[in-house]
Amino acid sequence: MSRRYRIGVKYCGGCSPRYGRVQAVAYLREELRDSVEFVSYEASDIEGVLVVTGCPTACVDLTPFKDRPVWVVTSRKDAEGFVETINIMEKRNGLEGNI
């Protein structure tokens, strides 16, 4: 791998989350430490946005991110699926085409 992807993290507000959202992102940071740099969704030069919501309602407004790849994680299982997605994308060499 030549470089790490720079992905912004956007959480829902967490009114009644059904799993640990922050812990799920900590898990992703660890699992993807060699391939992804997770930063704030407001950071510059991000290549995509990971939206982490506490339940499938996923009430986050996605319109500010319409020009970028967006992944939505609504459960711990989704977080595990995101690891697989990134690994597959790495083999394909890029985020584009995976929106």
């Binding site: 993290v9 956007k10 959480y11 829902c12 507000g13 967490g14 009114c15 009644s16 959202r21 922050v22 704030s40 009430c59 986050v60 407004d61």
Partner: protein, 483 residues
Amino acid sequence: MPLMNAKEYEASLRELKLNVWMFGKKVENVVDNPIIRPSMNAVAATYEFAHYPEYEDLLTATSHITGKKINRFTHIHQSTEDLVKKTKMGRLMGSLTGCCFQRCVGMDAMNALSMTTYDIDRKYGTEYNKRFLKFLEYVQEKDLVCDGAMTDPKGDRSKAPHQQDDPDMFMHVVEERKDGIVVRGAKCHQTGAVNSHEIIVMPTISMREEDKDYAVSFAVPSDTEGITYILGRQSCDTRKLESGTMDRGNQIYGGHEALVVFDNVFVPWERVFMYKEWDFAGQLVEQFASYHRQSYACKAGVGDVLIGATQCIAEYNGAQKASHVKDKIIEMNHLNETLFCGSVACAAEGHREPSGTYYVNTLLANVCKQNVTRFPYEIARLAQDIAGGLMVTLPSEEDFRSPDVGKWVEKYYRANTAVSTEDRMRMLRLIENITLGTAAVGYLTESMHGAGSPQAQRIMISRQTNMEEKKKVAKKLSGIKEE
């Protein structure tokens, strides 16, 4: 960016020169007073968590005036999504603090005034809405806490404001000057009053023309000359003065209420939002009350804490596998989520008013609050059922720490051997705190009477139910022919 953090908020409070009284003495240092301090911590949490990435989506919003990112507690709802996020913010903050965090009342007052001032202007050609929006922008830019002050002492309940033997039983205008007005009266049960930068005063009931001197709404800085705060007592409040902290239950947060006296307080015209427009007093009361009845989603958040504490104590007692314990905790969750349902529903069914502000569905807001007058009591009863009698017979922390008798407390109050006696005691104290200690003020009696007592909601439910339509369908389906 107009977003203070907790430290900046605390520093801003230290600049206020409030006239606060408690236990017959003037409180010289309000912020550091051990009885008041936990309530300051709870309001400070509304500032601090707004900076946390995992909470900011609920705790911040975009100002419709400036386009800047602001604390949602200073926001005017611009959509039903905003209303739903307000509900969710209330639950979130309740679940993080386990108590009343005091900041919703000002938000509800501002949203109600954004509509009522607009409607008064349309009828009378006044400029209240312009004044209000200027005040709102100031509140948003400075990220201030506003106390929404509605409840007057009311005196003899059988008499209208102008009929009272003592005219001060309702806040009223005593003098009109070129540069403003002078008001006198008091507001009772003022949640978070001494943690507030501004006080927004509203009338407390619908009024007739004879009561026009009492139809007044305005905002003043909380340390304006002539304002006195007298703190309300809470059950177990002086435990906060003891050397240990375990018996407090909640180690960090709390709430407070105060009687706020206005003794000839001057209000400049630019801060007056209603002046003798008696025919709009009822509207302002109803709009504020409806928003505030929605706000009781916070009790679902406090319920989250109580349910968590109850599950813990069941495990600490070694009773968590008993089928009746499991079933009671399911019931607690069922009741708690039903509370949340009502608040979400009245928000999702909200609508746009002529001012542009989004307003809750008032029937559902009243149904929401009616449930809140009941369910926390049942949730608290179940928590006490599972906790056991030890919750109210437990010796003090000082006995637990005593070199003489501490060993007996340690020995005889250990249950599940995997859990320390101290942890068991701490969890019991938290349940005690929420169900009959200082936090029960917010979780129980405030649930009963805050935003209007139960009968007030029943009147509103009755008014808004389309009974004729229900009767019509019943008659049709039963074969009764309408004449």
